[in-house]
């Protein structure tokens, strides 16, 4: 008795592989998994790759042939190529609200100084909704919100400007300049 083939479920397809092809496939998928280490969502990419392998192999099967051998698998893997991790995943992207991303004001795309944008980015909220909420607070607190905003403006650090990023609006640029001026004054006064 001899085992002829292994039935492999690849994402949404099922194919028969002979032993040699199965071993090669296992090796490819293990390599891909280790190349994707640090990617936030390797499962999705791996199942996409499995599907690609299945599609490529079934296309290469001669009519009447049911078992994938190295003759189909090797050129299939060649065409798919080895996994190229994206820069973001290679540098292990910080999670949107993890400790790696501090609460900072964001000048690019800010309306006033970037406090709302900073909070939205930190907590993963919709910035428009947050701004509307802030304006509502402005009315509810009878203008007291302005003081809160000014305090946050002074206290929250600024995120570094994106190199080659979009130019700042007039107000965000002025606010940032003013805050930086005030901070310099204050640190002079306290030292």
């Amino acid at each position: 008795m001899k085992r002829i083939s292994v039935t492999v479920s690849l994402n949404r397809s099922t194919l028969q592989f002979d032993d040699a092809a199965y071993a090669r496939l296992e090796q490819y998928l293990a390599e891909s998994a280790s190349l994707l280490e640090g990617d936030p969502d390797p499962t999705e990419i791996l199942s996409d790759l499995e599907q690609a392998v299945a599609d490529q192999c079934s296309r290469r099967l001669a009519s009447g042939q049911s078992v994938v051998t190295l003759a189909e698998l090797v050129p299939a893997l060649e065409e798919i190529g080895s996994v190229q991790a994206t820069e973001a995943s290679a540098a292990s992207e910080p999670s949107p609200r993890g400790a790696a991303r501090p609460l900072q004001q964001v000048s690019e795309g800010a309306v006033v100084s970037g406090v709302c944008l900073g909070f939205a980015r930190y907590f993963g909220l919709n910035v428009t909704a947050l701004r509307i909420f802030a304006v509502l607070l402005l009315f509810v607190t009878g203008g007291g919100m302005i003081l809160v905003y000014l305090a946050l403006m002074l206290l929250m650090p600024y995120a570094p400007l994106e190199p080659g990023g979009r130019p700042l609006g007039w107000l965000p640029a002025k606010s940032r300049a003013l805050v930086e001026y005030l901070r310099a004054k204050l640190s002079l006064a306290t030292s």
Partner: protein, 107 residues
């Protein structure tokens, strides 16, 4: 440094922009994208494209939906989200600015 080793990172950086452009035309599945890029300087492979598309999806620039195919299992069709369209517009604009700069300098 050879010319090729200087060009490789430029191509790598532009691939994301080109994928956004292709996905921006109409909803496509990965073999469509590969075909579109094949024969250009940017010819690429599934092993490169899937991680890139996964990243773009996490950044909420593209989304996909499953569509039945005549042969084989359902396929993932990618298209741009609103945010993707906005980012593509600014990349397009930036790209033409760069082109103008490159053309203007060196005269």
């Amino acid at each position: 440094m050879t010319v090729e080793s200087k060009l490789a990172p430029i191509r790598k950086g532009l691939l994301e922009f080109l994928v956004l452009r292709i996905v921006g035309v109409r909803s496509v599945y990965v073999p469509d994208i590969l075909r579109r890029l094949a024969g250009t300087e940017f010819a690429t492979q599934e092993g490169t494209l899937y991680p890139l598309l996964s990243k773009l999806r996490r950044e909420d620039l593209v989304m996909y939906e499953w569509k039945e195919s005549d042969a084989g299992p359902p396929r993932k069709y990618y298209r741009l989200t609103e945010a993707g369209r906005a980012q593509l517009a600014s990349l397009d604009e930036y790209w033409s600015r760069i082109n103008r700069t490159v053309a203007d300098l060196g005269h």
